[in-house]
Amino acid sequence: MNYTLDFTPVIEGLPNLLLACLGTFLLALCGMVLAIVIGIGGVILRDSRFKPLRWLVIGFVEVIRNTPFLVQIFFIYFALPLAGIRLDPTPTAILALGINGGAYAIEIIRGGVQSISKGQMEAGLALGLHKAQVFRFIVLKPALRAIFPSLTSQFVLLTLSTSIASAISAYELTSVSQRIESDSFRSFEVYFTVTLFYLVISWLMMRIFALFSARYFNYPVK
């Protein structure tokens, strides 16, 4: 093999690549926030007394979890404009990441809620709190703590799926690197570097989650 490594295009593109890393990071972060909101909201509606709402959530989770993420992005980006909803690539990516991550988050958080003993809720109700207050003040935090490791790995996965948003040219690492690669044909150098960057981003995400967990779940358990 007489391939000579040449990182010059990568080095020249470094400012762009680093900025794109930030893009990926922010995309993931926004997606996660949306996913958490959808996740918690979905869990509440999933156990609503109003049956159609329950079915809606179940249907949503089934559809999202059993279809490819790429198709979901394409649907939002190319199909929704026909219904008059036109979004730029980056908002599309955030929305798709949030919806996709949210569907998984619903199932994960629901597992956490179910792990909380009935006695906790009864104690809250007996104290005169309403169901919604019991959920918010008593159930939610211990439930999130119980499933936080699963939520973390789901959200690392979400971070990595931002690369799929390159298909609609959202501003993120994969699409920027593709441009550098197609200008320079330095495939190995570009994707080697990009792989390292993704590793760092994932690691950073995990650190953030670990720090958050240590601060937010700071109460002792037996």
């Binding site: 006695g119 009864e122 104690a123 809250g124 104290l127 709190l129 008593i138 779940f217 037996k222």
Partner: protein, 256 residues
């Protein structure tokens, strides 16, 4: 007793259960429960496991729905709509076998959550009230700790203080010492005795017969979802009328 005098005595009662029936599907958990508790009265409920004693007190604050009959707490008829359920729950405190303290809240926060969120007290008011009650159950110095850092007996005393923070008119105890190590039973019973001496209306599901002798005005024996016998403790322990009561007392006092 005539129908008229029954109605009057029930009207003055703090808690009145009339012809209450409850089913779990096809299984009838409570049969024709009639119970009237005056303000300040202390009732001990006992009976074999599965006899419906927990179910009975859990109906009083509607943790369990009942299907027939009527329950009144204070002046409120406990219906099945949230308005009366909320009104009753604000008047009725409950202590559970498993303590059920909230693990993510400090002892103080456990005590202030409901007064703030349910009664609308300010944080300062709620904390003042909580500290006073934690003092009363002799646990004030633990206020900033979390439940997992306390012993079972301490946790149960916090649970009592937490319920008292709502300034309830009635306290329900659902086997409050059954999950405790033997050496911690006394501290919880002492707290309950103090509460009884201060005039609280109490219904206690417990097998602590010493406690029953000391504080109960009436001991009620249940079996198979029905009230079998009720009597003042002196009479209940020395002269039980029913065979099932005698058998139960023989078993439980034999063990102690």
């Amino acid at each position: 007793m005539t129908q008229a005098s029954m109605t009057t005595s029930a009207a003055q009662a703090m808690i009145a259960m009339e012809r209450v029936e409850k089913w779990y599907g096809a299984f009838q958990a409570l049969h024709d429960i009639n119970l009237s508790v005056r303000a300040g009265e202390k009732i001990v409920l006992c009976g074999p496991s599965g006899s419906g004693k927990s179910t009975l007190i859990r109906c009083i604050n509607h943790l369990e729905a009942y299907q027939k009959g009527e329950i009144r707490v204070g002046g409120t008829v406990l219906g099945h709509e949230s308005k009366t359920i909320d009104a009753v729950r604000r008047e009725v405190g409950m202590v559970f076998q498993q303590f059920n303290l909230f693990p993510h809240l400090t002892i103080l926060e456990n005590c202030t959550l409901a007064p703030i969120r349910s009664l609308g007290l300010s944080k300062a008011e709620a904390q003042g009230r909580a500290r006073k009650l934690l003092e009363r159950v002799k646990i004030a110095e633990q206020a900033e700790k979390y439940p997992a850092q306390l012993s079972g007996g301490q946790q149960q005393r916090v649970a009592i203080a937490r319920a008292l923070c709502m300034q309830p008119k009635v306290m329900l105890f659902d086997e409050p010492t059954s999950a405790l190590d033997p050496e911690m039973v006394k501290e919880v019973l002492d707290t309950m005795i103090t509460l009884a001496e201060e005039g609280m209306t109490m219904i206690c599901v417990t097998h602590e017969m010493g406690f029953a002798r000391q504080v109960a005005d009436r001991v009620i024996f249940m079996a198979s979802g029905a009230i079998v016998e009720e009597a003042p403790p002196a009479e209940f322990f020395t002269n039980p009328r029913h065979e099932r009561t005698r058998k139960f007392l023989g078993e439980i006092l034999g063990r102690h």
